[in-house]
Amino acid sequence: MMQLAVEVRNLSKTFSGGRRALDNVSVRIEPGEMVALIGASGSGKSTLLRHLAGLVASDRNADGCAVSVGGRSVQAGGKLSPEVRRIRGNIGFVFQQFNLVNRLSVITNVLIGTLSRLPLWRTLLFRFPEEERRLAMAALQRVGIADWAFQRASNLSGGQQQRAAIARAMVQRAELVLADEPIASLDPEASRRVMESLAELNRADNVTVLVSLHQVQFALRYCPRTVALRDGEIVFDGPSAALTPEKLGELYGSDAEELLLGEALTPNRAPRPTKIVGFPQPADGLAVAAAS
């Protein structure tokens, strides 16, 4: 039996000040899925993704709260696993603000993806092995910015920086890529290219992708499955095609407009079948998730 790519059980998070960011969230994602995480701003999307990467610990409650990635525990009962750094090595994280180191070259930023598997003496001396350098160049080629490899990251446009961040996740040989609003700071054309890069990574390398978005049309176009959050609770988990404007209105009320911003959504221009051919359709995962 294959391990689940992501398993979240009864996850809750309360921030200081008492605001409940996540409320008893449970999700299961099969390897190779490409899943959208939608919701208005403040609905808990970022918080959920950051818990998956073990960047924050959940509330300390004992009732079976657990997060695991690829069958390995990231955190349980509000405590990060002692192995969390090693697990993060298998998780690529793409941030809304790219989070590259501006003064380092693009290729060095991509090579940062190899830190977790290289011996310390190499990383502390900036001595990356030849084959890792080649891997980094190949990844930059793949996302289409190889010509910028030796520029400072700050010289790139937002869309190019985001693709460099995706190249870093490729070089990491991540089994799971978590993308936190990767296109929220980008124009439509750059957004499309970034989403294409993520989709290509998912399709060609069978990498599981969980991407948070606040524009539903991108979820419809690139992700067969959508998980929808509202005020820290999962209100929908199923095929993206089921998210009609009527359904969104039912789920979010007046907030639905925020999710439909941009192009008007009409049912006949929703998911383009050509884009999602070849995706594994995780019927079992869906059924389980929908039931929980």
Binding site: A53, L55, R85, R86, I87, R88, G89, N90, I91, G92, F93, F95, Q97, F98, N99, L100, V101, N102, R103, L104, T108, I112, G113, L115, S116, L120, T123, L124, A165, R168, Q172
Partner: protein, 282 residues
């Protein structure tokens, strides 16, 4: 009533604009309203100056009464006597060498101490003791450290190097840690998310962000350490300061003048060089 006192855009209509002008005119101009506070502030400033007057023994008339003495002393300085310029030059070079090593050692030690004193990297049980230690190093002037090290390691340049090193470590560690506290945390989190360890987060995420400021601070300190190195010699810690102290004590004012001119030229050159380096690096 009571519209907000803003100027409305033209399109908003003349009536509204007039209305808001009237509101504005009912208030006193800003300068009138703040004048009382300004008067108090000036008064406080003068009070502090008056209070310090007698303690600092300010006697401007002494300058006039003793004008003759000053003229005689000034005349003794000229013409400067450069007869021993080779010796002065050797000692000035030794002074630079003291400043170079004092600053270099300080930079090496200020890096870990600066990181340990930074609020965003270091836990409080480590940060607070390191900060207090650095405060202590900064509070004591180089001259005092120089006197102590002359006793500990003997007369000579090494005492000067140690004095400058210890004092500068305190200063640079504080400046370095402030630079670290001002970094953008997001790239560091980006590196953490790849599974990197803390050392790698600092090396790849923190250092690249602070390096321009660190270089700039280090060069500033080198400049001011060259100046400090010229005086630590006065307590026996080597360099041109020793020479300066000898010629002043021996009333060789023409030679004193020559040494001072050479110090001025050296310090100016170092300032120019370091300003040029800073421009290159930033």
């Amino acid at each position: 009533m009571a519209p907000t006192p803003f100027f409305y855009p033209k399109a908003a209509g003349m009536a509204q604009t007039l209305d808001s002008l009237q509101v504005l005119s009912t208030r006193p101009p800003k300068s009138v309203r703040t004048s009382l506070g300004t008067v108090l502030l000036y008064g406080l400033g003068f009070a502090i100056l008056a209070w310090s007057y007698s303690g600092a023994d300010i006697r401007p008339w002494a300058l006039i009464e003793d004008w003759g003495n000053m003229a005689v002393l000034g005349a003794d300085f000229f013409p400067p006597d450069f007869a021993h310029w080779r010796y002065y030059l050797e000692e000035i070079i030794k002074t630079l060498q003291i400043a170079i090593w004092g600053t270099f050692l300080a930079i090496i030690f200020a890096i870990p101490f600066g990181l340990m004193a930074a609020e965003n990297l270091s836990p409080i049980w480590l940060r607070q003791p390191v900060r207090r230690l650095m405060d202590a190093l900064r509070a004591i002037n180089e001259m005092v450290f120089a006197m102590l090290f002359v006793v500990a390691v003997g007369l000579g340049p090494f005492a000067g190097v140690l004095a400058i090193f210890i004092h500068t470590t305190g200063i640079l560690a504080k400046l370095f840690s402030e630079a670290v506290e001002a970094i953008d945390p997001r790239p560091v989190e980006g590196i953490r998310a790849t599974g990197a360890n803390v050392l790698e987060e600092i090396l790849y995420g923190v250092i690249p962000q602070v390096i321009p400021l660190w270089v700039s601070y280090s060069l500033y300190r080198f400049e001011s350490n060259v100046r400090s190195a010229t005086v630590v010699g006065m307590v026996g810690a080597g360099g041109i300061g020793v020479v300066l102290w000898e010629v002043i004590r021996g009333f060789y004012f023409a030679q004193t003048c020559a040494v001072m001119i050479m110090i001025i030229v050296t310090v100016s050159l170092i300032d120019l060089l370091s300003a040029w380096l800073r421009r290159r690096f930033l």
